[in-house]
């Protein structure tokens, strides 16, 4: 028997003594060479992207802050922005003359009428002299009117983000199934789905929103589609990778019973990957809220459209209100999804 099956056990006297065992060094000459190459690459790209100038400006600003140097460009810029942003504008002030169907007896709740004197220099058409005329303009002031308007826009943004996420889920589920190597029905579907997922992921929302606005017009439709398609690419890739990497034990147990592949996917893979799917979806929702605010800038609805308008009119107080609402929303959403994740991944 022993001649038929020679066991490969090295005898102790032939073995190399432990003090002569080769110990693999953590670094080799190659490691240093690679590090040097990376450094050269960084230096080159840093030169192209004006990193030295950034360092200079930041240094000037630092010196300005501690009072060694004056007139730093960055400091002045930030000071200007800070002065413009504050105080926040939360009230809405509209000239009564511009309101249609205005009824002074029946004002909206919490609002009041303010009368302001407006001084204007006008030219007297007879004497060609500049004359100061004083006129009284009635304003309808709603104390939190603008905040209400921003909140409404924020809700619209959230709605766009939620629907974008829903669409991405609907699109990515079949894509994930087709592009998971171990469950795809055929290699042609696998290649096709992977190509599609890559394509969806490679077009940023802002770019696709630009074109979708041309096709669907201004408003939320373009936003929802832009967000949905881009995040479908993300989710499709992550979902498929999770299916591929799922623990094999339970899958093999069901497969060996002759269970068909879709059933194995549904019973042995889905329960395993569901918590991470929820986590991905929450991340995508969070990301979509932020991106929905951005793509409004190209006219795809939501708070971004308002932001762009106010920014272009130099109403930085209004911009500050928008940014604050955005920040609070994103922060609240983050807390919310953290709670859900904690509950799910137990």
């Amino acid at each position: 028997m022993s001649t038929l099956h020679p066991t490969v056990v090295p005898t102790p006297n032939k073995a190399i003594p432990p003090e002569e065992w080769f110990h693999k060094p953590p670094f080799k000459a190659k490691s240093f060479f690679i590090a040097f190459c990376l450094l050269v690459l960084l230096a080159w790209t840093g030169h192209n992207t004006e990193i030295p100038r950034m360092m200079g400006l930041l240094g000037d600003w630092g010196l300005d802050v501690i009072g060694v140097k004056e007139n730093s460009q960055v400091g002045a810029g930030f000071q200007k922005v800070g002065e413009d942003l504050f105080p926040l504008v939360i009230a809405d002030k509209t000239p009564v003359s511009r309101l249609e169907n205005f009824d002074p007896e029946n004002l909206p709740r919490f609002s009041r009428i303010e009368i302001q004197e407006v001084r204007e220099m006008t030219m007297n058409s007879d004497t060609f002299e500049m004359v100061e005329t004083v006129s009284e303009v009635e304003y309808l002031v709603e104390p939190v009117g603008y905040l209400q308007h921003v909140l409404k826009k924020m809700v619209e943004t959230l709605e766009i983000a939620i629907w974008g996420t829903v669409i991405s889920l609907i699109v990515s589920a079949p894509l994930a199934y087709l592009s998971a190597r171990n469950y795809t029905p055929h290699v042609i579907f696998y290649q096709g789905a992977r190509a599609l997922v890559g394509m969806l992921r490679s077009v940023p929302e802002l770019i696709s929103a630009l074109f979708l606005v041309l096709a669907f017009g201004f408003g939320p439709i373009a936003g929802i589609l832009a967000l949905g398609l881009h995040s479908a690419g993300f989710l499709g890739k992550f979902f498929a990778e999770d299916i591929e990497n799922a623990e094999k034990g339970a899958q093999e147990a069901l497969l060996s019973l002759g269970t068909s592949k879709p059933k194995v996917l549904w019973y042995a893979v889905m329960p395993q990957v569901l918590p991470s799917y929820v986590a991905y979806t929450l991340y995508i929702l969070d990301r979509n809220v932020r991106m929905a605010s951005v793509i409004g800038i190209v006219g795809a609805g939501g708070i971004g459209q308002e932001l762009k308008g106010r920014y272009d009119m130099f109403n930085y107080g209004h911009v500050a209100t928008i940014l604050l609402v955005l920040f609070i929303t994103v922060f609240a959403l983050d807390q919310f999804s953290a709670q859900i994740r904690k509950k799910l991944i137990r």
Partner: protein, 270 residues
């Protein structure tokens, strides 16, 4: 494969000169000849890497022999008959291989997925008969109602293996394979699990092929012991025929301890 039809009823499982060479060149099984009659509790012994798992994985179609034939219930195991055979063969795993996040109930019922139409399986909607059977099996395996509705991952190892056995038996398999079913369990639980497995198999007339590492348990439970070494069957007999010499043959590949002083003795069989 020429004698598929002769001696029709004496063996449910038949390896004919079966060999398995994996694509990387590992020869896991060479020239296996094995006939297992229906209803037998057959234990396979052998050191790690002897080919026990490969043998079992051939029977449930997870891998096909590269040479020679394997017939199960007079059906040749090949790509065409694989699914048909797999419905008659159930497996119990060393690491239980349950679906951790689903309940014990669903885990047992998942064993009968091929007996449930796809759309109903998708909705986790099983037939009344199946549900009744799964409860009875769980009860027979010593699980109570509270455990039956818990997540599989919350159970202890012994309890999980009880679920594994229940899942294997829900479809009334002709053959049950057990790949080191008690390797990660303590001796007392191991004995309980094997008792349950043997009981369930005898009750239904199912054939069991069970690989083990515990020689005492093999002697206690087996109708027949098959010893493997380096991909070959080196022993095939009843429990009382398993002498120390035979154990040396199985675990060392030699009839007795060699006189080669440089090679250490194997304490497992000493």
């Amino acid at each position: 494969m020429k004698n598929i039809t002769d001696n029709k009823n004496d063996a449910i499982l038949r390896f004919e000169n079966a060999s398995k060479v994996y694509p990387d060149g590992t020869r896991a099984m060479s020239d296996i000849q094995l006939k297992v009659p229906e209803g037998q509790f057959c234990v396979i012994l052998g050191p790690s890497g002897a080919g026990k798992s490969t043998l079992l994985r051939c029977i449930n179609g997870m891998t096909l022999p590269s040479e020679g034939g394997l017939t199960i219930d007079n059906l040749p195991m090949d790509k065409r008959h694989r699914r048909t055979i797999q419905r008659e063969v159930a497996m119990i795993h060393q690491s239980f291989n349950l679906i951790p996040r689903l309940t014990v109930a669903t885990n047992i019922l998942a064993g009968a997925l091929e007996h449930t139409p796809g759309w109903r399986a998708g909705l986790f909607w099983f037939g009344k008969d199946l549900i009744r059977r799964s409860r009875e099996l769980a009860h027979q395996m010593g699980l109570n109602e509270a455990q039956y509705y818990r997540k599989a991952s919350e159970l202890s190892g012994g309890q999980q293996q009880r679920v594994g056995i229940a899942r294997a038996f829900i479809v009334d398999p002709r053959i049950v394979l057990a790949d080191e079913p008690v390797a990660s369990l303590d001796p007392k639980t191991s004995r309980e699990i094997l008792t349950l497995l043997r009981g369930a198999a005898h009750q239904r007339g199912a054939t069991v092929l069970c690989s083990l590492h515990q020689i005492d348990l093999a002697r206690e439970f087996a109708d027949r012991i098959v010893g493997m070494h380096a991909g070959e069957i080196v022993f095939d007999g009843k429990a009382d025929e398993l002498t120390d010499d035979m154990l040396n043959l199985i675990y060392d590949g030699k009839p007795s301890f060699s006189t080669d002083k440089t090679e250490s003795r194997n304490p497992r069989v000493a």
